[in-house]
Amino acid sequence: MKKNLTARVVVIVLTILICLIGIIDFPKSGADLKKNISDNIRLGLDLKGGTHLVMQVHVEDAVKADAEQSAERLKEDLKKQNITWNGMDVNEVTRVEDADQIALSVKGVPANQSSAFRSLVAERYPGYVLTAQNSTDYTMKLKASELLDLKADTVKRAVDTIGNRIDELGLAEKSVQPYGSGTTYQILIQLPGVDDPARAKELIGTAAVLEIADVKDGPYASRDAALGQHGGVLPLGTKLVRSKPRGPSEGEQWYLVNKSPVITGREMRNARAGQDDMRKWETSFNLSPDGGKRFGRYTEANIGNKLAVVLDGQAVSVATINSKIEDSGRITGLGTEEEAVDLSRYLRSGSLPAHVETNEERSIGPSLGADSISEGINAGVAGLLAVVVVMLVYYRRSGVNAVLALILNTVILLAAVSYFHAVLTLPGIAGIILTIGMAVDSNVLIFERIREELRSGKTVIAAVDNGFNKAWWTIVDTHVTTVVSCAFLFLFGEGPVRGFAVTLTIGLIANIFTAVFVSKTIFDYELSGGRQLQELSI
């Protein structure tokens, strides 16, 4: 019994040490201690201040782009095989839910060429399902599995891109992750400490879409001047873009560019700033194999023409095509290093595969955060003090056990938050409050049982043993029921509900340890040592 007790004490002391290290590390001074605590126990946006954005990725853009690219390829394939057609288009959709409706329709394929057409599609476009509308018209739709993959991939790439863009601006903490169930295609962006969402959104570039398009005409000094050149109407299939001014002295410049780009951000793989042999700044870039082929064909036929790099409808750079460019090329003749670095950043980060839209935006100012932390701590301390006082008055000496167990429980919970790199949010604190409530309850249950046993005339040692044994199954039942419900909350819940479930589960496991194991050990320790206690202070 004695040896067993020693072993238990060792386990408890080790646990306390490990937990304390998790919370405070090895501080060297008072200020260090404070800093370590705030580093290890990270507070959520709702307590600390910051920006929280949920963005909808319009995956239908990617599906549509895929269909359009297939249409371009198909046109060439059909030409090669001398199959004729008289119409090909992709339907317009604007809602995410309608992404599955996107289809490429091919009209007017002569009936005698239908078998050639069918075998071409089956061989060259295995991802598509071909349906005949009548003897000459067809629709092509992505297979369900391909569609799912494409949509999931689009969200993943949007997450990467947005993450990269935020990295470029060197924020200490950030989190970008897919959000919601698999069918909502949303991204959650959390930027602690950024309380100015206009800036946050500027970083993310809500709708940044990168295109490289051929320049039809320009530059013009203003939009009106451009329109004036074309009799007030823009030529079919073109649009006007304004170029990004290089300095305050530079006036407006407008270019007329082709509406459908040669290359989009989807095909951009990488870009770097560098210097050429003459020490002049340039930006080199790489394209995907598919994009490279298309770009090669286009540049070969258009040497001497101009290309514009358009980001979000703004021309960030305009360059002349000097030679055929396939999967890697350079934009040369840039004025400064800054210009080259900026351009490489635009090219690299501009590859959002679809446009994104803000669905949810919350920004909590740091002053509110500071207020809620101080108020929350005050309230928590006041509540805990009240509990401690009542426990000590009501259960006297044994109340100390309960208070120790309660403190240890809180320490373990905070250590778990630190070790799991979790963030403490308001719902998480709700979980902690329920944990403390149930921890108090476990102690009360045990103590009341011990009192009952003492009343029925048992010796102190027997009463303590019986009290713990009888309360044990009640404690197990209450805890398991709550953990079961937490499991469901975690599986089916969203963000805040999950935070609640996680802290509560950790707290309850810690509670079984502190309220039963630790508290029993303290009782055993008091009752050991040869003293035959006639009375227990409870």
């Binding site: 949810e360 935006e361 009360v444 039942d477 209450t478 969203e494």
Partner: protein
């Protein structure tokens, strides 16, 4: 110290006043919800934009109401004590998110600030904005600073502005002189470059209506699944009727709390859901403790009528129930009184929940089990003198209550 020693109250005999009280509360809650045209959701679940603005003095509510002609100002919670105002507007579609925020900010700036002075509004400026604004003027005024020094200065200034008692608002630049490293040159540059509007936006929340509906469905579903999970576990450990009784009891607590929210005009948002989940956990815990004692007592006294076993169990756990509920109540009252506005709705839900949750274990969950057992016993032994108590015959059940075994 002991409060309850060998008590012997007839709890189950006094169930009707409580059941009636529960019914009255539920009906009143639902009545209030119906009168208000549905549950009042916070913007988490409804979608919309909400801006919390703190003013230097008492908020000029009339002026705020009249300042935004383009968008409807929907609700106001004029917290006079902290000089804060919530300005809310509805959002019809996701696209309006950014434009509406801009509109609200502009309206505030033109009504209360001096946007045309060309100065930076220090009370609403971000750290980066302060750095960018001060960099050149400081150099011009002869306060030489390296970039890291400038960043630290801006961080310190804003930190001072944001900590209580300023809480985001300063009234005079001279207040900043107590910030370490600030000298008169810096104060003068601030005065020259910046302005102090008498308000600061401390929180902006914007949720698109689609996301709102989605969050709502998910929260409700998660809670229902969690309840089903608890029912299954209790049914496995006890009998299925115990599981049903416990789940009906916590469901009852949730309904009453939602009703009370409507009666007091409080909105239900994501933090309230966390509070509701907490009270479900709390109430369930309370119920299981009593059920556990009933099960234990049934093992030793099989011949005793169930009602008297239940009464005895409730009496035996009374001391524990009062202690635990009392202590939890203490903690939550502290949160409610001192926890501040962020925790207000949350602690309100818990205050309601603890009261309702405690009595529901005794007066809702246990009677359900009792009714069921009396009902099945009567079907097994049709000539037994016990008449099944049914909800429509309260007097009859009181009269035909089996004789109590008093120990």
């Amino acid at each position: 110290m002991e409060l309850f020693k060998n008590t012997n109250y007839d709890f189950l005999g006094k169930k009707w006043p409580f059941i009636i009280a529960s019914l009255v509360l539920t009906v009143a809650g639902f009545g209030s919800i119906a009168m208000r045209g549905g549950i009042k959701y916070g913007i988490d679940f409804k979608g919309g934009a909400l801006m919390t603005v703190k003013f230097a003095g008492p908020p000029p509510l009339e002026k705020i109401r009249s300042m935004m002609p383009g968008i409807s100002v929907q609700n106001f919670t004029g917290a006079q004590a902290s000089n804060e105002v919530e300005i809310g507007i509805e959002l019809q579609e996701e696209r309006q998110l950014s434009t509406n925020r801009q509109k609200m900010e502009n309206a505030l700036a033109t009504t209360f600030g001096r946007p045309n002075s060309g100065k930076l509004d220090f009370n609403n400026a971000s750290q980066q904005a302060v750095i960018d604004r001060l960099r050149e003027p400081l150099a011009r005024n002869g306060v030489a600073m390296s970039e890291p020094q400038l960043q630290k200065l801006a961080a310190d200034l804003l930190n001072f502005r944001n900590t209580p008692p300023r809480s985001g608002l300063i009234a005079d630049f001279n207040q900043l002189s107590s910030v370490p490293g600030v000298n008169s040159g810096i104060i003068n540059t601030l005065k020259q470059e910046c302005d102090l509007a008498p308000y600061t936006v401390i929180k902006t929340e914007m949720v698109g209506p689609k996301v709102g509906a989605e969050l709502r469905t998910k929260a409700v579903l998660a809670t229902l699944y969690a309840l089903a999970g608890m029912l299954a576990y209790i049914a496995f450990r006890f009998e299925w009727i115990y599981g049903l009784g416990a789940v009906i009891a916590v469901f009852h607590d949730t309904l009453i709390t939602i009703g009370l929210f409507s009666i007091f005009g409080e909105a239900i948002d994501m933090t309230v859901i966390a509070a509701l989940l907490t009270l479900v956990g709390y109430s369930m815990n309370d119920t299981i403790v009593i059920f556990d004692r009933i099960r234990e007592n049934l093992k030793v006294s099989r011949r005793e009528p169930l009602e008297s076993v239940m009464n005895r169990s409730v009496n035996q756990t009374l001391s524990r129930t009062v202690m635990t509920s009392g202590l939890t109540f203490l903690t939550i009252i502290a949160l409610f009184l001192f926890g501040g506005r962020v925790l207000h709705a949350f602690s309100f839900a818990l205050v309601c929940g603890v009261i309702v949750g405690t009595y529901s274990s005794v007066f809702i969950a246990s009677p359900i089990v009792l009714f069921w057992h009396n009902y099945t016993d009567q079907r097994k032994k049709p000539r037994a003198p016990v008449v099944a108590a049914s909800p429509s015959q309260p007097e009859a059940s009181a009269r035909t209550r089996p004789t109590r075994v008093v120990k």
